[in-house]
Amino acid sequence: MTSHTEKEKKEPDLKVKLGPLILKNPVLLASGTCGYGKELKDLIDLKRLGAIVVKGISLEPRKGNPPPRIHETPCGLLNAIGLENVGLEAFKNEKLPWLREHKLRTIVNILGNSVAEYQKMAEGLSGLEGVDAIEVNISCPNVKEGGVAFGTDPRAANEVTRAVKGACDLPVIVKLSPNVTDICEIARAVEDGGADCVSLINTILGMAIDIEKRRPVLGNVFGGLSGPAIRPVAVRMVWQVARTVKIPVIGIGGISNFQDALEFLMAGASAIQVGTATLVDPGASEKILTGIVDFMVRNNYSSIGELKIRD
């Protein structure tokens, strides 16, 4: 029984608007940590989530980097998977139909070796039923050409964004690399290029050495660091970028629980992606969503936007 003195607790409005893309809530699964969705089908209720960002795809299939590909570090995970993926055609024919059938909001992460390749990928995805948006990966540290080469140079980042935007009718999110001197400069460049949204951060470049074997642990020598270890860096960058560009920001980086997610939403993110936490516990994203809702109810927030710290 509710007492008369207690304020009436209303279900908060969880809807988020990422440019033209409207999602029912701000919790997304990050690319490279949720496969193509189906891998998680019996473990979580994918429909509850805002959207899923599928494993990064390239024009041609890629077999990925030689092992070892992963290494655990304090509160973190170093990886150098090397964008192993089925390629655009197989994605369209073998992976997308399942996502479409299950009516899951799907954001396709793409990676190219050249501006022309990014453009072709965007053309190939444009107008496809079941694809809700594109996330342009200009920040993968683990492949030789492409990827991060576009993410560390504002001019190249702008050019890729323009090419993708011009080649499709989909909302375009650009995923930014933290491995730069000034992430705001890159964010501005992709905003000028027409991006509808930015997501950040991708992994931080790192490495580990096996002292017994006296050689780098990872087959690729360098890898990308993810997990709780990088969260404070990510929160800082989201804070900065949210105060630099007008387009919405998606926060990513070591989010393991609802408190972490709220840090990002308060720093200025309109939505968040759960990555490494899903690898540790496939149910992490659902717990985070529940935690956000409970927190909002407890503290009388009526919308996600209200969480943002205004200054």
């Binding site: 490279g32 940590t33 473990l43 092992p67 590909r69 655990e72 490494t276 690898l279 540790v280």
Partner: protein, 265 residues
């Protein structure tokens, strides 16, 4: 048998140090006892880890299940922070468990299985031996020395034929498991060999020697591999191993039990 994965907290009903640094943990998890097959594994996170370090769950082969009691057992060695934390857990406490995962051993109905386990590699083989009770099957167990020979008694309880070797001759045959296997296969006629499949788990050099021997004798072979894993469920693609065809296979979903000829040795 339906292979349905569960992700939950499970109660520990036993965690016994059977040899210095080697433990058998028993958890209550009826779901896994009805959905798992020999060779599959679970991702485990000790419930006594405070905070986020170590971060990842650890892959452990299912050692044995007991459907009546709803018990699942894991045989593990303390090698790092994760297994050390696990070894300190007490009866009544909880672990997080995700499983059963991966491709288990595929045993044909009419074939004669020969199980070859070295050291801690006996972990998934006891489950398999238990599934083979009443069938014609042979188990070869090996270790460096008698004190490192694991789980001989539970294997004997299966009633299968057991051959044992130690490298220093302190128990059973003196020598390597591959020498025992070689003698065994050499005695068989080609016709009999056609019905034999080897199922092996142990250190990588041992597996390679077992596979080599199987190729020489023209006998089918499945091996269970161990690698570092992050997710155990095909999400991260971190557990890649080289495949024969030049590409990669993933231990968590294509394995951990592979037809040996699929792999690049």
């Amino acid at each position: 048998m339906e292979n349905r994965r569960i992700n939950k907290q499970a109660k520990i009903v036993g965690n016994v140090e059977i040899r210095p640094g080697i433990f058998v943990m028993t958890i209550l998890c009826p779901e896994i006892t009805t959905s798992s097959s020999a060779g599959q594994f679970c991702m485990i996170r000790p419930g006594n880890i405070q905070g986020l370090d170590p971060l990842l769950r650890r892959p452990l082969s299912i050692h044995l299940t007991d459907q009546e009691k709803g018990h699942v057992q894991f045989l593990y060695r303390v090698v790092g922070r994760g297994t050390r934390a696990l070894s300190r857990q007490l009866e009544g406490e909880f672990i997080e468990v995700l499983g059963p995962l991966g491709r288990g051993f595929q045993v044909g109905e009419d074939e004669i299985p020969i199980l070859v386990g070295g050291g801690l590699g006996v972990a998934p083989l006891l489950f398999l031996a238990r599934q083979l009770v009443g069938r014609r099957a042979i188990v070869i167990l090996g270790a460096i020395t008698k004190s490192q020979l694991l789980r001989l008694e539970p294997f004997r309880e299966t009633g299968l034929e057991i051959l044992v070797s130690t490298e220093d001759g302190s128990f059973g045959n003196q020598g390597l498991v591959t020498e025992v296997l070689d003698r065994l296969l050499s005695r068989l006629e080609d016709e009999a060999k056609a019905n034999v499949t080897i199922f092996s788990c142990g250190p990588y050099p041992m597996l390679r020697a077992v596979y080599h021997l199987c190729s020489v004798h023209g006998v089918r072979c499945e091996v269970s591999l161990e690698t570092t894993m992050a997710c155990g469920s095909g999400l991260c693609l971190g557990c890649a191993v080289k495949a024969k065809d030049g590409g990669y296979l993933h231990v968590c979903k294509d394995g951990p039990c592979f037809r040996a000829e699929e792999l690049a040795w």
